[in-house]
Symmetry: C2
Subunit: 393 residues, 2 copies
DNA sequence: TACTTCATTGCAAACCTTTGCAGCACCACG
DNA sequence: CGTGGTGCTGCAAAGGTTTGCAATGAAGTA
């Protein structure tokens, strides 16, 4: 595999891992194991003096409760699963980071799994993880809604970037975003605009089409549909030629990667952005600030989505102690769970890839306005720290 | 939090999760639970007829072995932990993706945790994860070597991007990369070169300084040390002014983010890249192909590092069954583990951010050579699919 | 004083699986 | 027929923890 082995020694490891259990602590502090257990899981039930003694011993011995054993009996693992279509896709890392952070604040650990965009892998992963987690975040899933519903009976689910009735969902308001983008372009004097679509099965994609269409009609502009294409740089550059031949003066792309690819492609054809064609992306991935021209884009609150999704999952979990105790009564009778669907705001971030169109009024002559522009209706321009979608459902 | 709640319904969930255990399968197939267990964990010990019957029942009931319970007795969790300095740093996602993929191929699940660059968090995380995993990958750790050694007695560790004697390490040959870069620049006619350093405590940083210094001496060029700076875009643009005032005609940056930041900064000062100053990065993050000019950079095999690290961890694990059975004998006597240190090759990828320097021979007049150039000694230019470091140790 | 209440602690079952050991049936061999 | 082996299966302990119940003792109440 093209690597060089520098060193290879064989040593006997001396400090073997000595797993210290609740029993050791009990012995050391002269109480029964149940008292030790209670010291950690129900401190108010043990005498303060005993408690400090036990805690001291535990500290001394470096005791840490064994979560697996605890899970076995409580039915709660204090783990959650994150199922991601493609970790390398720049849209997801900020989401993962935020979700993991939020989970850990609440004393949960996070499994992360990459499906490589494969719906079968998604299903398999949910099954495999089910027993090991208290819930799963499905991020931009590729499988069918009905399968998702079915799986949700096996383990609590929260879905990100997909609307599934009856299940808690976290959605980003790309409809609003698309509307803002179109209004921004119309305001700049563009009357013939193209929408470069992403994956057909994507909820985001459908929302964008709907909203962009309506906004174009309202603004008296014509909207051409391009694609659907792969939500990647390549998928963007692929339509450059088509855009050049057409009479559109502005393009709204499904995501930033496609927008950047398109700009590259246009550049190769000698078409200048934004002078000849304006381009708007969606996601505001880090990248979009570093390309030239800097990309005008609809920022999606990815980090907030991760946090919110974890919150929803945990809140749902708290109510229903999974993994029924043997005690029989009271377990499956009328468990109620609150399923909310949350829509997060998006924000248009105006940078350098959009400029005046053929019908621009001569009032503001050349330079595109900087910062959250007048066409951003989502509040007084609260800049979301978000990043990029890409392939999202 | 700036979100709108669209729907919120309360439903009673009907298909409550019915955890099916080994006992259910046993009952259904008319055998003892131990036979069911063996059907899964030691198939050769059970009668083929029984086996198919059991498997059929298991399939029917949707049985999945409970890994937590299994872990409790075998001492092997079939989980590994990935401790990452910053998931959002573009260097890491490809590494995570590769590691997760490799792990899952071997039937391991992966915990991912983000330390936010905090050494204390790293330590805490190792402790917290220790009981739940069979081993931990420490990626570009921030803590001291001695602490790492100490922690390695609690749980098997593999370290990425850091050299710790006695522990398995996966390193990238940035020394070789820096040498190639300097040789490339010297070959282009640069005689005064700057090295823009990253974090002082970084192993990568030290290696680069050492190798770049030697290569410059050998090539008759002068090497100026800049930094150390934060390994980010900002850290790069911060030295633009300094570079402009100096007489260096080329800069090798600690990583791509810094290189891109520097190019931005120079551009703002009216200094053109590569016409007036050449810039080389390290990592080959996706981004570096999309900026303009496209970045010449030393590609680090991030994905390979992830795979290799997982392999090393698992190989090490196989030998030593952690979590000693009560049986007493034979557990801690002379367990041997092989600790190898692997160095992965890097490749210089020549793009558009480097060009002829003041001492260029008129032979090849203007255009920088494309593709893996003649100065890349690392084999016949196998292009590594790698990406970006950033902040890496 | 007798009875209740309360705080604290111990006991033991339970969670789900693995695994050493023993039992059984069967066959072959002597 | 006896002996040994082999192939398969059952039994029960073990792993670390939680938790309902009971036991203890002390304090409070009538």
């Amino acid at each position: 595999m093209g690597h060089t082995c520098v060193t290879a020694t064989t040593t006997s490891d001396e400090g073997a891992a000595v797993p210290v259990t609740i029993r050791d602590v009990a012995r050391a502090s002269g109480v029964h194991i149940s008292t030790v257990s209670r010291t950690f899981s129900a401190p108010h039930l043990v005498n303060p003096e005993t408690r400090v003694r036990v805690l001291a011993c535990a500290e001394d011995l470096g005791y840490r409760p064994n979560r697996a054993a605890r899970a076995l009996i409580t039915g709660r693992t204090h783990n959650i699963g994150l199922i991601i279509a493609d970790i390398a896709n720049p849209f997801f890392p900020p989401l993962i980071k935020a979700a993991e952070s939020q989970a850990r604040h609440r004393d949960y650990h996070v499994f992360v799994a990459d499906t490589n965009e494969d719906p079968t892998a998604e299903e398999e992963l949910v099954h495999a993880l089910a027993k090991q987690v208290d819930g799963v975040l499905l991020c931009s899933p590729r499988m069918s809604n009905s399968l998702i519903e079915q799986l949700s009976r096996e383990v609590p689910l929260v879905v990100v970037n997909r609307q599934v009735t009856g299940l808690p969902c976290v959605l980003m308001d790309v409809g609003q975003g698309a509307r803002s983008a179109i209004e921004h372009l119309v305001g700049l004097g563009h009357r013939s605009i193209a929408l470069l679509g992403g994956p057909r099965s994507s909820w985001t994609n459908r929302e964008m089409r709907r909203a962009a269409g309506a906004a174009a009609r309202a603004g008296g502009a014509e909207l051409t549909m391009l694609g659907p294409n792969a939500p990647t740089e390549v998928g963007g550059s692929a339509v450059a030629e088509q855009v050049r031949r057409s009479d559109v003066s502005a393009v709204l792309a499904y995501n930033d990667l496609m927008a950047i690819g398109l700009i590259e492609g246009l550049d190769a054809l000698g078409v200048r952005v934004p002078q000849e064609v304006s381009v708007v992306g969606v996601d505001d991935i880090t990248l979009s600030r570093l390309t030239r021209p800097k990309l005008t884009t609809v920022a999606t609150p990815t980090a907030a989505a991760g946090r919110t999704a974890v919150d929803m999952l945990l809140q749902q979990d708290i109510e229903s102690p999974r993994g029924a105790r043997g005690s029989g009564a009271g377990t499956a009778l009328g468990v109620r769970r609150t399923t909310a669907q949350v829509m997060l705001q998006t924000d248009l971030v105006i940078r350098d890839s959009t400029g005046p169109g053929p019908y621009a009024r001569p009032a503001r002559p050349l330079a595109a306005p900087r910062g959250p522009g007048p066409h951003c209706p989502a509040g007084p321009g609260i800049p979301t720290a978000a990043t990029g979608d890409a392939v999202a459902s």
